[in-house]
Amino acid sequence: LRKNVEDFTGPRERSDLGFVTFDITADILNGKNGLQTFWNKNTLIIFDWNVKQLFLYLSAEYSTKNNALNQVVLWDKIMLRGDNPKLSLKDMKSKYFFFDDGNGLKGNRNITLTLSWNVVPNAGILPLVTGSGHVSVPFPDTYETTKSY
């Protein structure tokens, strides 16, 4: 998995709002963090007969003065069994507003973006899997007031 991002921040009311654009290249079928089926521990197959869909989400994780841990989902997608398991998205804008609880985005050097997914079976356990590969992104020290999104 690989992601490239560029970003800028803007204050809205009194909380920081971050803007992130990203590319996602992922090959879910052959990913390292595959779901292991019960009977064959050596195969790393994610879409087996009992998988109805994967709920993929890109989350940003970071720390601020106000809060020790923050996690924000920037984008999500439902991938049904039968859909193309390779993702190749470019220049995506985040689906959800990246508001911080306070002003912790300005100058924050370490925002980690990770792709994870929830395996939804036809029946059974609902595991959450984190994809291998994540990207660290810094936010700039100043606010942008005129950039258009």
Binding site: Q71, V72, V73, W117, N118
Partner: protein
């Protein structure tokens, strides 16, 4: 006429059975019934303790988590305090003052050093997050609002509960038949 005759014979047989049971056997059957009810209750309470949730099994009532979950699916929950709430998890929560629990996914969390956490949820099938559903003036959910985290699920089975809720006559019929069956069954 033949059918009516057979029916009449069968019903007489059935009543004979009941009449043949003397008082002691009747008490025995009632006790049996009581045992079954107590065992069921014990299993339910046991589940509550093991999972840490006040409602370890819930039925999905709305379509807001489709296509993952549909109305009538059964969800198995745990609510262990050591499990931290993280984005992507499916939580079942109650809004203050409302009885009906909601099953949605965690979209955002802000957690303090001491473990205090506030989070936002959204249904997969909804266009917007749940802030509009929360109480007036409430912007976040907290640990205390959580009934449990969905760990596993079985489709369709919960439809029976929904039917029993929507059609009370159906519920009474089921309960009546069950009670009758247990009372009359000799073993």
């Amino acid at each position: 006429a033949a059918v009516a005759a057979v029916a009449a014979m069968l019903s007489l047989d059935f009543l004979d059975d009941v009449r043949r049971m003397n008082k002691r056997q009747l008490y025995y059957q009632v006790l049996n019934f009581g045992m079954i009810v107590s065992s069921a209750l014990m299993i339910w309470k046991g589940l509550m303790v093991v999972t840490g949730s006040e409602s370890p099994i819930v039925v999905v009532l709305s379509g807001s988590m489709e296509p993952a979950f549909h109305r009538g699916d059964l969800l198995f929950l745990t609510n262990r305090i050591e499990d931290p709430i993280r984005v992507g998890e499916i939580v079942v929560f109650r809004i203050e003052g409302r009885e009906i629990p909601i099953v949605h996914r965690v979209l955002k969390i802000h957690e303090k050093q001491n473990g205090d956490i506030k989070f936002l949820t959204k249904g997969d099938n909804n266009a917007v997050d749940d802030r509009g559903l929360y109480k007036q003036g409430q912007h976040w959910l907290e640990k205390k609002d959580v009934v449990g985290r969905a760990r596993g699920f079985v489709p369709y089975i919960g439809i029976v509960t929904i039917l029993m809720n929507d059609y009370p006559k159906f519920k009474y019929a089921v309960l009546f038949l069950l009670g009758l069956f247990v009372l009359v069954h000799r073993e």
